[in-house]
Each structure stands twice: as structure tokens, then as C-alpha cells.
Symmetry: C3
Subunit: 344 residues, 3 copies
């Protein structure tokens, strides 16, 4: 019985430790097809090899969130198996497209640690990198989680809280080699709106909605080899509910955002993110976006747009984000801050 992995507890992390996560994964056209079955994903660059070639790429890369979920899933047994909460993301950047046939693995460095005042848990900060079969980083991001202590009596470690950028600066965005939106086909992409048409402060209600089923979120979460019990085992929580993986909500919201942001083709940075409230099967998920910033890039025809993406389970058109006390409204599921690339 001692051969199973009970996961790490708060005491098991030391700042500077580098964890090589297990189970590398080769991804292919199968993962791409499943992504389209699981999410209403329609961004043309991730749907069509020909569209991607017309944008200067060798073929259609796998969805940016396939890369994210695959890397994230690898970290779960080492980082969040005993996590009480997934607290935040920062400094996320996509560094290289992932192509069918690539093999991904992940490493995390512990960059911060801070015991909570109640003495039973603490926050752990890790910087995770996904690498392909040539050891080229494809993705990196910081995540911090609240992890249970094994023993409340164990002494508190020295506190290290990393200084994290609130936003990835436009100069730090990595544009895929060769990307060129000069001859972008807006009709094939599905919408006429270009970079210049989006104004900072503009809010877009994405109109569509998806009611989530147990089978769907479990298929998705397993696909990323994410093993957290709470997503799969209806006997794990006292209320008999299976908590939906937060990344499932990210992908749902991003896919729903096609309607109004069809040309926000590639995600290149994750500035911040909060899973505001839990999502369960039966919830009907909607999404809206707010334009937070815009920046030019060096790539031909390519602009960057910074977006807030909010997922909620409220009625259509309810764009409330926070309550009067500053906390998230109870129907809000996700508040994500990211950079995407659009045609000028």
C-alpha cells in the first residue's frame, strides 16, 4: 500500500526544487478531433491546415489550450493532488506551437512558499514549463495553490513570496515563427472585425451557451491525464458532486468567445486567472469578454489584444462580475486575463 502516490503536502516543497513531472505525452490529430468534440472551438487557425498555411505556418498547430491542459495535467500529481484551492496564474507565455506528433513533458520549479496563519496549510508557487521532444519550451506559467500540511505541528518554513508581473508586457509576447496575417481571409475566419475595431473597455457578450454533462468534463479532464480525484469520484465530496476541472471552463469560455472574437486566433500569454466559483454538471456556461489593452507586434499584419474572459452560469446577458463587497458574484466561474493575436 505504500507504493501509491499520496501526493505532496506543504512540508514537501522547498524553494528552488525542480520537479520533473511524469508521463510524457505524444499528441496528434486524435487530440485535435476530441478538442473539437468537447468544446465548440472554431478558430480557423486551429481548425484548418490550409488556413494556417495561408497565415505563414507549416500546418495548423494544436489549440493553445491543448498545450496548456496537457502540461497542467502532468503537474497535478506533484503539485495539486492535496491542494485545497487553485489560487492564481501569472506570467504565462506560449513559446512555440505544438504540432501533431510532438511529445510534451513538464517541469516545475518551486519559486515561493508561505504558510497560512491557521497553520494547517500553505501557499506554494511553482513556475511550470512544458517542453517538447527536442527540449524546446512550448509554454511556461506560474501557478500558486493552497496545499494541506501533513502535520499541523510541523514548523513554518521561511516565507518566500515571488514578485510576479501583473501582466506580460507586449515586448515579451512570443509570436510563432513565420506568422503573417497580411493576406488574412476574414470571410473564412468567420468575422470581419480586425484589431483596430476593438476598443479598450469594449465588452462583448458571446451570446452562446453550453450546458455541461458529467461525461464531457470527465472525458476532457482524463484526456489531459489530470488525475485529481475530485473530478472523477462522486463519493469523494460529501455532496456527491464532481467538481469540474477549472481548465474545462477555460476551454469552454474561450471556444464560446469565437462569437465576437473569431479573429483572436492565438493565445500567447496568460496574465492572470481566477476560478471564481466551482462549476458542476448541469450548469449552463456563458461567456463575455472585455478588451483590456491593445499592442502592435513585429509580425506582418499581426496585432495583440489583451482580453478579460469571464465565464458564468447566470442568465443570458448578466455581465455582473463582482458583488458590492468586491468579491466575485456567485454566478461567475472564471475571470481570465490573456493576450491573443489578431489581424490588423
Amino acid at each position: 500500500m505504500t507504493k501509491t502516490n499520496a501526493g505532496r503536502f506543504f512540508e514537501d516543497y522547498r524553494v528552488g526544487d525542480v520537479i520533473r513531472h511524469a508521463v510524457p505525452r505524444t499528441v496528434s490529430g486524435g487530440e485535435r478531433a476530441l478538442y473539437h468534440a468537447l468544446y465548440p472551438a472554431r478558430h480557423a487557425l486551429h481548425s484548418s491546415d490550409d488556413f494556417a498555411r495561408a497565415c505563414g505556418l507549416a500546418a495548423s498547430p494544436l489549440d493553445d489550450l491543448i498545450a496548456f491542459h496537457t502540461v497542467f495535467g502532468k503537474t497535478v500529481p506533484d503539485v495539486s493532488l492535496n491542494a485545497v484551492a487553485n489560487l492564481g496564474y501569472a506570467e504565462g507565455r506560449w513559446l512555440e506551437p505544438v504540432w501533431p506528433g510532438d511529445t510534451l513533458r513538464a517541469e516545475s520549479e518551486v519559486i515561493g512558499i508561505k504558510q497560512n496563519s491557521n497553520g494547517t496549510s500553505g501557499n506554494v508557487y511553482v513556475r511550470t514549463r512544458g517542453l517538447n521532444q527536442r527540449d524546446v519550451p512550448v509554454l511556461e506559467y506560474v501557478r500558486w495553490v493552497m496545499v494541506r500540511k501533513r502535520d499541523a505541528a510541523s514548523p513554518a518554513p521561511d516565507e518566500v513570496v515571488p514578485r510576479l508581473d501583473r501582466v506580460v508586457l507586449p515586448d515579451a509576447l512570443v509570436i510563432p515563427d513565420g506568422l503573417d496575417f497580411s493576406d488574412y481571409d476574414f470571410t473564412l475566419a468567420g468575422e470581419p472585425h480586425r484589431w483596430g475595431d476593438y476598443q479598450v473597455g469594449e465588452v462583448i457578450d458571446h451570446v452562446d451557451a453550453v450546458t455541461v454533462e458529467e461525461a464531457e468534463h470527465m472525458l476532457a479532464t482524463r484526456l489531459w491525464q489530470n488525475t485529481a480525484k475530485v473530478h472523477f469520484d462522486a463519493t469523494f465530496r460529501e455532496d456527491g458532486k464532481r467538481l469540474i476541472y477549472g481548465g474545462h471552463v477555460i476551454s469552454l469560455a474561450r471556444a464560446l468567445s469565437f462569437n465576437g472574437l473569431a479573429n483572436a486566433q492565438l493565445i500567447v500569454a496568460l496574465n492572470a486567472g481566477a476560478h471564481a466559483n466551482p462549476c458542476f454538471a448541469g450548469d449552463t456556461v456563458r461567456a463575455w469578454s472585455e478588451v483590456l489593452d491593445r499592442a502592435p507586434t513585429n509580425a506582418p499584419g499581426v496585432g495583440a489584444v489583451r482580453l478579460r474572459l469571464v465565464a458564468h452560469k447566470g442568465p443570458p446577458g448578466d455581465l455582473t462580475l463582482k458583488r458590492e463587497d468586491g468579491r466575485y458574484a456567485p454566478h461567475v466561474l472564471l475571470d481570465l486575463d490573456y493576450w491573443a493575436l489578431m489581424p490588423l
Copy 2:
């Protein structure tokens, strides 16, 4: 909020307009595997590269209905987002096999328009073509839908109702290049019945049944990038039900028809089709077929058979199609008229 696509209304169609639909799609072995997971599909030509090669093809093409659903899905945002009903199909022909790696896009020409007497909606007729990455047409069909008017007070357009063939003539059927059933292996295909064994008027009850789940029809419908809200959003209809995409029922019925029609390997024409009654999760779907016609072809060993394929949610063996008043019996879901190719 004006950036989202509200879909076209009846007033937005003009006869002669050609709509280039958005979001081209590269299909692969992933879509093939999902098709086998979603439907009990067993026709050998779409299951085995080796079987297909023994029939003169380069490899196993993707299921004919994968081509249909992919093309159909592209048309939804432009044709049927505000449709009240999907009224009919005609003059459908498969023109070229779709291979893994192909990229499909779709175009539709408006060929007819007719306001309804109540003034709040009208019928729109479109001829849709699916094209591959070499701009070769892979599929064409006529579909007509009832679409809401934006404004009941807007004037009725000049009425144009296209003359449509009630059936695709055998001479117009397109046989895939190289198809040769001379050395057909009936054992591997699963049944001994050949073209000559099917008599016009013969009825085959396909015996098997599938009880449909919400997760399944949503996975399937999303896979074809079909975005109609009514399939995904449990809050959209007043009764809280998600309407199952009619094409899901077509694929279920076609797959169930293997049992008795295992050698009807390829669909080459869609003569007509009616979604007689809505299908919802929890329904148990059964199918039966009637042989409507037979015709020789020029390809070696290949005959064509015209079939009526009926899906229903009634008890086993209930082959009732219509009520005394000529309307479809309430348990009938689908009445499809198509041509398939069989070994002589």
C-alpha cells in the same frame, strides 16, 4: 455587443447570392475514431484501409456522413441559426471521397425564397457545396429551411421556388474513381447479401437500438462545428430539453442499418429527407429500411440501390410510417431517401 453574429433573417437572402461559409476544417483519423465511438458504424469500407484497397481505393475514405455533417455544420451560422424548421433535402450527391488530411469548406447559393402566408417567416432554398483543399467539390445538396423574418412588416420578396428533382437519376450518381467490387470479400464485410438479393419493396428491420445520451449528441454535433444553440443550451427551450441535431439521427440510423445492409458500403446520393419528429436524450432509436429501387452502374461489380431509411423511437418491430391522415406517426424521427453502392 454588435460584434456577435445574430444569424441571417429571411430578409437577408436574395436569390443568386453565394455565401462562402466560415471555418474550414481539416479532418483526420481523429474524426474517424470519434465517428466509431459516437455511432455503431461498421461498414467495412469506412473501417479498414485494407478492405478499401481491396475495393480499388487508395485507402479508407472518411464516412460519407462525416463529409455531410462537416459541410452542413459550416452552413449553420449562415443558413439555419434563425431557422424554425429544417424542411427538406434534395439533389444531394457525393462527388469525391474525403480522405484523412483533407480540408473542407463550404459554399451555398440561394436558389429560392418564398414568404409564408403568415408574414412572419419564409422558406429559403440553398444549394450547398463542400469543397476540399484543391477546390474540388466533394458533396452538393439542396436544403430548404423556414427562417424567421426580422420584421414582420418588411415586404415579401418575389417568390422563387426552384424545381427540384424528386430523385437523383442513376446516371447522375458519381462512383469513386477506381471502385471495383469484383473481388469483394463478403465474409469480412459481415453479410452475404448482394445487390441482386434485394427486391424493390423489401423491408428490413435492423433490430438493434441505441438509447441516446445528452453527452453523446452534443459531442457529435460540436465535432461538426454545428453551433445551433438549441442543441447545447438547456435553458434555450422552454421545456428545458436540448433538441438533438437531425444529422445525429441520420448517422445513428445509417449505422444501425448495418444489420441487414452491411454491404451498402457507400452513400452516393441523398434524394430526400424529413426530420419527422424531434429526438431528445433518453429516446431509444431504432431503424428500418425499404428498398425503393435498384440500378446498375458502370463500375466493375458495383450496383446502386435506392433505400428509404426510417429512424423511430417506437417499440421494437413497429414499422408504421404515417398516420391515417398522411402525417408521420409520432414515433417516427427520420424518413431518408438515398442511393448506396453495393457489390453485385
Copy 3:
């Protein structure tokens, strides 16, 4: 109506008959991705091409159970469509890895037959072989099932009960060509435990659990083109339940066993197996293993371990296998006896 396959009855089997099963199947990266979505499968050799190459293989073969299910599914219409019970397995051996792009077909020889004392059914023993597109056997196993008689009055056949080995001897295990665990990366594989760390008699509770949904087991069972009505048709059983394909439980349990047996990379033999009790949607499946034996092999760095794999739907930590009367405890779903390969 006579064109549909009613399946074989007990009277239809003769010892020595060889049945060529229908519908060959080409498997690809799509099936691999679906396997990861359907089961929490994480064994690195089936997840990563690079990991497999570091173990001497050309690429990552498809999961051994993909091969098993695909071959098994082909036999259903000929062997178990009218089966009352799936009674046992023996002498199962994996003979050659299955690679993406391979086409599998199956043949079964009837090797035994024995009417039951009640005269209404009998046991049929078949030796099934799966073959790839080069007619190389990839898998063979013996299975016996209880099959209904068409007519209780038909005479009993001469009884032939094959002598079956209770366990595949270590010398008979087939190691994939080139397999070499000399440079095995235990960190990437996920656990440090090597062949020498497992003691005969040791029991490992795999801790994780999965609550099963209807959509999931139907997707899986269809993927293997297994057509038994009882898995898909909620009107088939009087209690309105869909019986979950026993192989689905095998794959669930094997995937759950990663936690404690991450290095048991390849299944090479199936010694015995019993589906102790039926599994239905809503059940939460757990698994535990017992080490039954160990043996060296001729391949560099590779040892064989014989394992009992038990799946159950009881509470966490309930490792009861049998009741006092020697029958399986009611919460036990599966009792499987197999050989796997591990690094020394």
C-alpha cells in the same frame, strides 16, 4: 427481415469450426486519444513515442487493451450475441505490438462445446486470434461463454472440454522485439518501484476511483465495434439498465492500477479472468492488485510480474474478494490474472 443477423445459437457451433469475423478495422492516433479520454491511462510507454523509443521500440504502440477490445469486438456478432454469460478467459498472449495505421481482423476456432444439464444452453469454448494487415497474429486468447440453444429439444452434441493452462508459463511470454529497459527513466514513468521491489503476496490498493457514466461506456464499447444490444439499448433489460461491457471495467481497472504499478508497462498475457458482478452507470469503480508471481525474461532489463487485478464498487479500502461460501463478494466486478513487463 431475414437479412439481419440473429447471432449463433448453441446448436450452430462444431468443434474445429473456424470463424472469420467481419469488419476489419484500421486503428490510429484517434483511437489512442480516445483511449486516454475514456480511461485514466498513464503508462508512459503507451503515452509517449519518445519514452517508447528510449525503451527500444520504434514508437509508442497502441495500448495492449486497445488490441484486445478491437479483436474482442469483432467476435461478438459470431460468439456472444446470444450469450447468457461470459464465463472465462485463458491462455491469452499478446504476440506483436499494434501500431497506429495497423488494420486488425479476427478469427476464432471452436475448441470445446458442452451442453448444460438444464438442456436450454451450453458452453462454447473458442480460441480467438487477432491478426494485422500482414496476417501476423497480434493477440490470441481462449474465451468461453454460455450460449442459449435455439431449441431446447435439439440433441446434445458430444462433449469436448479443452484442457486449458491455468497460467501462461513465463517461457511462453512474448516480449516485443527490441524491448530494452536498461535505460528506463523512472522519473518520467512516474514511480520508482522496480521489478525487485514487488513481493509475491503483496497487495496494492490503487486509491483512485471513477464514477461511470452511460455516455462513457457506450462510447468505449462502440469504439471497439462491439454490438451487443445489452450495452446500448435501455429497453432491452427489464430493469431498464444498460449492462456495461466487461472489457470497459478491465480498462478502467488497469488504468487505475497506474497508481502503484506505473512501471508495469506492457500486458503480455491474460491467464484468467472473471466478470464477478455486473457494472452499471453510476457505479464508482476502484481497483486493487495482488502480486502473484515474478519471472525473469531474456530481454535486457525486463522482468515479468504476474498480477491479480480486482475491480470493485465497494467503499475505499475494501479489499474483500470472496464471501465465506467462496463466491465473489457482491461489490467485486472483476478478477483478472495477467502478466506484465516491468523494469528490473
